[in-house]
């Protein structure tokens, strides 16, 4: 050991203090973001903010009603494609154990989970927007579905693997065929966890902006047709934020508050479900 005891103790205290400081440094932006979104956003919240269409510059009032509906709509489209594929691929990975094919799929899913969302946006553009020759809710939904699939597949795999083998064996021993065992015993047991994973992935894609910029684009009006451009909360926040108008900046903060509430509620719901599930298991 080098140096005197005093020096070594001083180094120890210094570095402990430094590490404690880092905890504060890490939490500072969180506090700042949450506090400012609430402070700047709360004033603009009202009933009309949720129900009205956006107004042009200079006109008072207006809201983001169409963007709220649009976000829900596009997330629903994403779920229609993404949930069956993501969960199905996850069940496949869990059931097929460690063949070469399964290992390849697992590695691919892991890599896909790391692909930047803006790249996925261009893919959806190439697959949906180019053949349809227009921006659409469908394209946005496909982009978000592509983002959901890899993470959902990996989460589902882990959850299905957690189901005790004895349950599966008991079912098979009673003469229940494989497919029925998978569906009615294994998947049902894992269902609570899978719902949690689904909630988390919905929370994640609901906050995505980049892949929607040139797939769903934006829309100043209500839209529920899958082949038309559609407004979303996130794209609306972006457009309001980079505009030069004070009034729109205030709207961006309010819309950000709405978005944070939606994402926060989804996350809390998922946490709560995990907690009750763990309690039930004990």
């Amino acid at each position: 050991m080098n140096g005197s005891l005093l020096r070594r103790k001083a180094v120890n205290h210094l570095l402990t203090g430094l590490c404690a400081l880092m905890v504060l440094v890490a939490l500072l932006p969180l506090v700042s973001v949450l506090w400012l979104v609430i402070k700047n956003g709360a004033a603009g919240l009202s009933w009309t903010f949720f129900t009205a269409l956006p107004r042009p510059v200079g006109e008072e009032g207006g809201g983001v009603g169409n963007a709220v509906v649009g976000t829900l709509y596009i997330v629903a489209i994403a779920c229609a494609f993404g949930l069956p594929l993501g969960i199905g691929a996850g069940v496949y990975l869990a059931e097929s154990r460690n063949g070469l094919f399964a290992r390849g799929i697992r590695f691919t899913a892991e890599l896909l989970a790391g692909v930047p969302s803006i790249v996925i946006g261009i893919v959806a553009y190439g697959v949906v927007v180019v053949p349809m020759k227009r921006f659409s809710a469908l394209a946005g939904g496909v982009a978000l579905a592509l983002l959901m699939i890899p993470t959902l597949a990996r989460a589902t795999e882990d959850l299905v693997r957690l189901v005790p083998g004895s349950l599966r064996e008991a079912s098979l021993a009673l003469g229940v065929p494989q497919w029925k065992t998978s569906l009615r015993v294994v998947l049902r047991t894992a269902m609570g966890g899978i719902v949690t994973a689904v909630l988390l992935s919905i929370a994640r894609v609901a906050g995505e902006t980049a892949p929607l910029l040139f797939t769903a684009l934006n829309n100043q009006y209500w839209n529920l047709r899958p082949d038309q451009p559609t407004s979303t909360l996130t794209v609306q926040i972006f457009n309001y934020a980079i505009s030069p108008y004070e009034d729109w900046h205030a709207k961006a903060w309010s819309a950000a508050l709405v978005l944070l509430l939606v994402v926060g509620v989804l996350n809390l719901l998922a946490r709560q479900m995990t907690r009750t599930r763990l309690k039930g298991a004990r």
Binding site: V33, P84, L85, L111, L260
Partner: protein, 322 residues
């Protein structure tokens, strides 16, 4: 039923496969195979949209070109690659010490009751959408940089090219800071997992021999965790490279290469975000898709290296435990 001696044996001995089972197996394989098809589809459709540019400009000229002027069909990717690398590496340099210090404090030094609330806070940090970070950065971080940080750095360290130029607020520094905030949860959560697996016996041995807590960490915990921390860094880097919205809102959107961190720049994702929807014709669209392909390649490489490193680390651990 009685089997007659001349009945062909193989047919009778074939195991009975439930028809439902076979269908279920096929459906599952198809769903699993869909992941591979998606991966192939991603690459194919990127290449297809990008092709007009590669045919015309050529890969090398595209990657090393320093000018970006879509109106005259001049496409050079270097300013964007430069901006992406500078902001991401800077973000890692900021986020890594913070994440490491924080996780070390929580795992080894601080009180145990602190762990859960901080873990919850970090999860919350990770769940905040990118565009909200962008909003915050644009209206809070950028003014602070412009009025306080950059004048201060300019006054005291202005002789370095890194901190020269007018304090604009928007630019590399702002983008790197907001990126650092956004990748902190990724690095912290992976690092936290790695620290948890550090061998307790070695650490306790060091403490018993009279090492201070820090010395025990330095001698027993850190060497063991090094590959994991390296992997976490690469994963964080991968996230930073692809992060779009927050960066787009504060980078300044100027396709130039500057040595100063105060200068406005541009990154691969942000130029795609800004120009793709209004791209002027196939070649512009193609050039942007080619940028996406470059980004895709870089993140793919980084992520596979990170996974391999962490997998090998895990295997080594399992080997040691056995």
């Amino acid at each position: 039923m009685r089997a007659r001696a001349d009945t062909p044996q193989p047919a009778a001995a074939r195991p009975r496969v439930n028809r439902g089972d076979r269908a279920w197996g096929l459906i599952l394989s198809a769903l699993g195979g869909a992941v591979l098809i998606i991966a192939g589809g991603i690459i194919l459709s990127l290449v297809r949209v990008a092709r007009p540019v590669f045919a015309e400009v050529g890969l090398e000229d595209f990657l090393t070109g320093q000018d970006w002027d879509p109106l005259s069909d001049v496409f050079g990717a270097l300013p964007f690659i430069y901006g992406t690398v500078v902001t991401s590496v800077l973000a890692i340099l900021i986020a890594l010490p913070v994440a490491l210090g924080m996780t070390l404090f929580l795992a080894e030094m601080g009180p145990k009751w602190l762990r859960q609330p901080v873990a919850f806070a970090v999860e919350t940090l990770a769940s905040i959408p990118s565009v909200v970070y962008g909003l915050w950065a644009l209206f809070v971080l950028v003014p602070w940089l412009r009025q306080t940080v950059q004048p201060f750095l300019g006054d005291h360290l202005g002789f370095l090219p890194l901190f020269s130029g007018p304090p604009l607020g928007l630019g590399y520094l702002a983008a790197a800071l907001v990126l650092a905030v956004m990748i902190l949860p990724t690095i912290a959560s992976v690092t936290g997992e790695v620290l948890k697996t550090a061998p307790v016996a070695v650490k306790e041995g060091a403490l018993a021999l009279g090492a201070t807590r820090w010395e025990a960490i330095r001698m027993a915990v850190l060497p063991h965790s090094r590959p994991g921390i390296f992997g976490a860094t690469l994963l964080g880097l991968g996230r930073a490279l692809g992060e779009t919205m927050a960066v787009t809102m504060v980078i300044g959107n100027s396709p130039t290469i500057s040595a100063s961190l105060f200068a406005p720049g541009y990154t691969l994702p942000s130029v795609i975000a800004n120009e793709f929807a209004e791209a002027a014709g196939d070649r512009h669209t193609g050039a942007l898709a080619a940028l996406a392909l470059v980004l895709f390649g870089i993140t793919l490489l980084l992520n596979s290296v990170a996974r391999l490193i962490m997998q090998r680390g895990q295997r080594k651990l399992q080997g040691r435990a056995a």
